[in-house]
């Protein structure tokens, strides 16, 4: 039976957007069929006992966090285990197939879960994040957030209810405004987002695509990165892109096996296509 190993930080793609495997039991997911078209398929998810590091895969347009044993589809149609790519020292470029999918809605966007890795606190009604941005809040952001300054540090207090309301009205705009509010760097004219918040980053990239904004990601180095800088760019993008940064980090909390029936179908996992 075809299957893919996922970790708790890998996101799968459904009609409501990106979601964690924990919340995806018995849910139809989107993936590519034999013709490369995005189609839905029934999947099953079960927890498996396996230890290992998280693996981060970064390209010009996507970022994913996987288990070391996750397989992803390469440009040549073959699949490769991520741990084999991480330990490779041949300096050959690794090309991966990216899928720039746009969710129909942001039903599965979970503000608390996506910002938790970088939040100072996450309460039921509000989330507090130290602001990386040095730009004053603009537009709609002023409606769902307030700035709390203490000495030389400024915090952003985001109202979950007000943000959820904005999200239902215009989800791409809501997520883009939140990214600018928290991460915009005036000097760089770009958003510098922590790799730890990879879930939020993936949603932000989907929001940019939904708004037809072309972008490119850059990373600290090939061997490791703490941040991803998202810049607007008019360069033409191909679905096949070289890996820009690839590394192990930390230890996985939970590992899952995602199973499906049709061998010619492969699920989307964090912007890439699962290999078999």
């Amino acid at each position: 039976m075809p299957n893919a190993k996922l970790c708790d930080r890998t996101l799968v793609f459904g009609v409501g957007g990106w979601r964690t495997p924990m919340c995806s039991h018995g849910v139809a997911l989107l993936g590519t069929d034999r013709h490369g078209k995005l189609t839905r398929a029934e999947t099953r998810i079960r927890e498996i006992q396996e230890l290992g590091p998280y693996s981060v895969v970064c390209t010009d347009t996507s970022i994913g966090v996987f288990a070391a044993t996750t397989k992803i589809k390469l440009k040549d149609g073959n699949s490769a285990r991520i741990d084999e790519l991480v330990t490779d020292v041949t300096n050959r470029p690794i090309w991966i197939e990216n899928v720039a999918a746009i969710p129909e809605s942001a039903k599965d966007f979970n503000l608390k879960e996506t910002l938790r890795p970088i939040a100072a606190a996450a309460y039921d009604e509000e989330i507090i994040v130290r602001r990386r941005s040095n730009q004053a809040p603009r537009g709609e952001a002023r409606k769902y957030s307030k700035i709390a300054k203490h000495l030389n540090t400024s915090f952003c207090v985001i109202s979950c209810a007000k943000f959820a309301h904005f999200l239902t009205e215009d989800w791409p705009e809501a997520i883009i405004s939140l990214a600018q509010l928290l991460f915009h760097d005036v000097d760089e004219e770009a958003e510098q987002i922590d790799i730890a918040a990879s879930g939020f980053l993936l949603w932000y990239l989907s929001a940019l695509r939904a708004s037809e904004v072309k972008y490119v990601l850059t990373f600290d180095s090939i061997q490791h990165s703490l941040f991803s800088v998202v810049r607007q760019s008019n360069d033409r993008r191909s679905p096949f892109e070289p890996v820009r940064s690839l590394f192990f980090t930390g230890e996985v909390n939970q590992l899952f096996a995602l199973e499906w029936d049709d061998r010619s179908w492969s699920p989307l996992i964090s912007g890439f296509i699962a290999g078999q």
Binding site: V89, N91, Y123, H150, N152, Q223, H224
Partner: protein, 203 residues
């Protein structure tokens, strides 16, 4: 010479033969190369290349595991002292990058008083201890009006060993990056008011 000195001297001799650029035609009969990120490293034989880089990698990981957390310059200084050999910055960066890539060392962001981000390096064996000490400092911040680097050192490193004051400062800087501490002075930290006033369920 004792065994430790011999190992250091073997290592430095091997690392000394590793280059970051291919030597001019005719200098070496053959050359072998390996790519660590954007840097390609060369040596005359495959054995020199592999053993030399392995020596340096082992030196970096063992220093990182012997100390809770270090900034790059200090890590490099300790490695040079142990190997008794001055490694070029480019080779050191390439091998440190390799350690980060393979998860032998982890990198964490810290916030300096000037609002700049600096990176600290934690050996794989120290992850749990690092998290435990971060949690201890968080509790300290919740229970006291202000916490100095000295009091963090007292709580986390009661033996006050060499370098532990700086490690204490880095723990606080890491908390400042995460938004769990605010600078009251260059070595004095307080709990952010926005968190302190809240009586809600925290992370």
């Amino acid at each position: 010479m004792d065994r430790k000195t011999n190992v250091a001297s073997d290592c430095s001799s091997l690392i000394g033969q590793v280059r970051t650029s291919r030597p001019p035609e005719g200098t070496w009969r053959r050359s072998f190369s390996i790519a660590y990120g954007g840097t390609t490293l060369y040596a005359q034989t495959e054995q020199i290349l592999q053993k030399g880089l392995q020596c340096l990698e082992d030196g970096i990981t063992s220093i990182a595991n012997d100390n809770l957390c270090l900034i790059r310059q200090v890590l490099k200084g300790y490695v040079i002292r142990r190997l008794q050999f001055d490694v070029s910055d480019k080779i050191f960066s390439a091998v440190l990058g390799r350690c980060l890539r393979t998860g032998k060392i982890e990198c964490f962001p810290c916030l300096t008083i000037n609002g700049k981000v600096r990176r600290i390096y934690v050996g794989h064996e120290n992850f749990a201890q690092f998290s435990e000490k971060v949690e201890r400092v968080r509790k300290l911040l919740q229970s006291q009006t202000a916490v100095s680097t000295n009091s963090i050192q007292e709580a986390c490193f009661p033996g006050r060993g060499s370098g532990t004051w700086f490690m204490s400062q880095q723990l606080a800087e890491y908390l400042a990056y995460a938004g769990w501490a605010v600078y009251a002075d260059k070595d004095l930290f307080v709990l952010p008011e926005v968190l302190g006033n809240a009586k809600r369920k925290t992370l």
